[in-house]
């Protein structure tokens, strides 16, 4: 082997650069396509984006809002990432967030008079547990019966919404809920994640999210469990060969995935809002985009969550100042997913061009790093 350390590290760096570059390119493409969309609809794209940017970063308060807006996306993106690494497509993040938020909201709403150092972590642990259990239902169904997780998690979402609605509307005799307000009771200060940037709504959920990402990175890339998850996700056959139990690994991964989503729901409830309202927040599908743009890597997820946080927090300012509907953010999310998926196929496009021009070229240079190639064939 004539290759030394330097060149091997180059290779590793190069693949990381390609990965990161592809994500940046995808976001850029989506923003450009979004600009066309805005222009066609009769607004000035540059002015719109400027308003969006200022809305996200224009003041200390705006920065706080932007970071606060990123928090649920961090958890949602981590949730999507670990499930995807295990070969599971978790569309149930929304429902898992609801379950986490509801658990934390109820526990905090009881006002048990515990000191904050006990109350907050316990509430968050309950959120993790509730989301995790809700997520692992889909894992168990998949492992035991082969039921496709995409369908079961979607159904579990609606089920969670109904459960939430039922709880806040009809259980006021037993639980700390207010049917008039359609919410759990407001959490007392000692049960809430503290504000970490004064004068803003930015709460300690951000720190929890970053810690969770680091922990997840360690789990995925340094432990046997993480290795098993990644193996199962890429090759069921190889996992069986290596004696890795597919079923229990999938269930465990879905527990962690749901747990991350549950933490996200919990941090919204006892961080940003103080109570769980009878309405899902709508982070679920965006979390898929976050996971994909973040390449299902915990660190990448943080970066992607920030991007989507910027879009969300800046979009209100954009709508108010320029009149461009803030729904453009949803459009951008759709576009960025298509761009990511399209770039993953760029090798194929190149090969196709090459064929048309009757020459040959290597295919699929990107496919290993992108993570949105079709994996284990689902039976949807």
């Amino acid at each position: 082997m004539g290759t030394g350390w330097a060149s091997q590290h180059n290779a590793a760096w190069r693949s990381t650069a390609v990965t990161v570059g592809t994500s940046i390119l995808a976001v850029t493409i989506a923003l450009l396509a979004g600009a066309v969309f805005i222009a066609v609809s009769g607004h000035d794209p540059i002015e719109s984006y400027r308003a969006l940017w200022n809305g996200a970063f224009g003041s200390r308060r705006a920065v706080g809002e932007t970071l606060a807006a990123s928090v649920p996306y961090i958890f949602g993106g981590l949730s999507f990432a670990i499930a995807y690494r295990a070969g599971m497509f978790n569309i149930g993040i929304e429902g898992q967030m609801v379950m986490g938020g509801l658990a934390a909201g109820l526990f905090a709403g009881w006002d048990l008079g515990l000191p904050a150092v006990v109350y907050v972590p316990t509430s968050m642990a309950l959120a993790l547990l509730a989301g995790g259990l809700w997520g692992s239902i889909a894992g168990v169904l998949k492992a035991a019966t082969g039921a496709h997780e995409v369908i079961t998690t979607i159904m579990l979402n609606y089920l969670a919404f109904r459960l939430l609605s039922f709880t806040v509307l009809e259980t006021d005799k037993h639980l700390p809920v207010d049917p008039q307000l359609q919410a759990t009771h407001m959490a007392p200060p000692e049960a809430r994640l503290p504000i970490i940037l004064s004068g803003t709504r930015l709460h300690a959920g951000l720190i929890v999210g970053i810690l969770a990402a680091i922990l997840l990175w360690y789990l995925l890339f340094r432990t046997t469990f993480g290795y098993n998850v990644r193996t199962v996700g890429l090759s069921r056959g190889a996992a069986a060969y290596a004696g890795i139990r597919w079923g229990s690994t999938v269930v465990a991964a879905m527990f962690v995935s749901g747990g991350m989503a549950g933490l996200g729901g919990g941090s919204e409830t006892i961080g940003l809002l103080g109570q769980q309202y009878n309405s899902p927040q709508g982070y679920g599908f965006t979390s898929i985009a976050v996971g994909l743009v973040g390449r299902n890597h915990p660190i990448g997820v943080i970066a992607a969550a920030l991007v989507f946080g910027v879009l969300r927090s800046g979009s209100n300012a954009m709508q108010n100042q320029v009149g461009t509907s803030r729904e453009i953010v949803l459009v951008l999310q759709g576009l960025v997913i298509l761009a990511i998926a399209g770039l993953a196929a760029s090798g194929r496009i190149k090969a196709w061009w090459a064929r048309r021009r009757r020459t040959t070229m290597p295919t699929d240079e990107f496919s290993n790093t992108i993570g949105v190639e079709p994996g284990v064939t689902p039976e949807l």
Binding site: F37, S41, G42, F89, I91, L141, A144, T145, G146, A147, H148, V150, I151, T152, I154, M155, L156, Y158, L159, R162, L163, S165, F166, L169, E170, F285, T286, I288, A289, L292, S325, E327, I328, V329, L330, V331, L332, Q333, G334, L335, I337, L338, I340, A341, G342, A344, A345, R348, I349, A351, R355, T363, V372, E373, P374, G375, T377, P378, E379, L380
Partner: protein
């Protein structure tokens, strides 16, 4: 006490038909797409875009039939995005479907703002005629689609080829069938059918469009396809089951039966989960679902 007879009246029957209609349309579309081998969780978004396009078409062309036509075209074209990414670029079909759903949810509300300068809902437009009291003309059309799809798959040359693409794309290609072309066609048809489902919600029933008005019906329709074992009549039965549960809940509300609305509304979802978990064992998806013929 004649509560039972009172409960199961003609209204309940009509409610079941009404609620099944969008599911049947969308499910027939999903079935064609899946039978050709392309997973389609974009039904929700396709339905939403069809619902919206129907209102826009009716609004500008002053005729709900033209509105329906616009909806079908828009549905087919939106599905073309899914088809191009899934078939042409071979992207993950779930990922692409998710993108379509987000795009549809965003674009519709964005355009409401743009066209009518109001947020979240359109003005009311003219509806398609009813063929009987509270039975829109689209209702019988939806149910008529089921035998048509059935005979298409069972007896037509094209149907056999579509199923071959879904079962074993390499084999289909090896006998000279243009797998990609057929799949493009079927995915676009799924868009057309889903758009009809959406159009029923707007110009067939409510008369206007509100944001996210499909409320997960596209996903339920997909569940019905799976529950129905990818067979047209099985899927129809599943649609009626899901619609029945919902109609039952509404009937219970109006008759003042003291059951929690939320728990009743949860019933179809629980049923679906049980069905999928219990039934999938014995059922068989198209063997080539999500697979591509060999490269080159």
């Amino acid at each position: 006490m004649d509560g039972i007879i009172d409960f199961f009246d003609l209204n309940l029957f009509k409610a079941v038909l009404r609620m099944a209609t969008p599911l049947v349309f969308a499910a027939m579309g999903g079935l064609l797409s899946e039978r050709s081998g392309i997973m389609n969780i974009a039904l929700e978004g396709l339905m939403l875009s069809g619902a919206f396009a129907a209102v826009v078409g009716t609004y500008y062309l002053h005729n709900p039939w033209w509105g329906l036509l616009v909806a079908l075209i828009v549905g087919g074209l939106t599905a073309l995005i899914h088809a191009f990414w899934s078939i042409g670029l071979r992207s993950d079909q779930i990922v692409t479907g998710t993108a379509i759903n987000l795009l549809a949810a965003g674009t519709t509300v964005f355009l409401i703002q743009r066209i009518w300068a109001q947020s979240g809902r359109t003005p009311t437009v003219q509806k398609l005629p009813d063929v009987a009291a509270q039975v829109n003309v689209l209702v019988p059309i939806a149910f008529l689609c089921v035998p048509i799809v059935y005979f298409f798959l069972k007896s037509s040359k094209l149907g056999l080829r579509v199923m071959a693409c879904g079962e074993h794309p390499q084999a289909a290609e090896s006998v000279g069938i243009n797998v990609s072309l057929l799949r493009y066609g079927m995915v676009m048809m799924s868009g057309v059918f889903a758009a009809a489902a959406g159009a029923f919600l707007t110009i067939g029933s409510l008369g206007l469009f509100t944001r996210d008005m499909t409320a997960g019906r596209g996903f339920i329709a997909l569940a019905a396809v799976i529950f129905g074992n990818w067979m047209p009549f099985g899927t129809l039965a599943a649609c009626i089951l899901f619609a029945g549960a919902q109609a039952f809940q509404i009937q219970a509300q109006t008759k003042g039966i003291g059951i929690s609305a939320d728990l009743l509304l949860a019933l179809p979802y629980v049923l679906t989960i049980i069905a999928i978990a219990g039934v999938v064992r014995g059922s068989r998806a198209p063997a080539g679902l999500g697979q591509h013929p060999t490269p080159n």
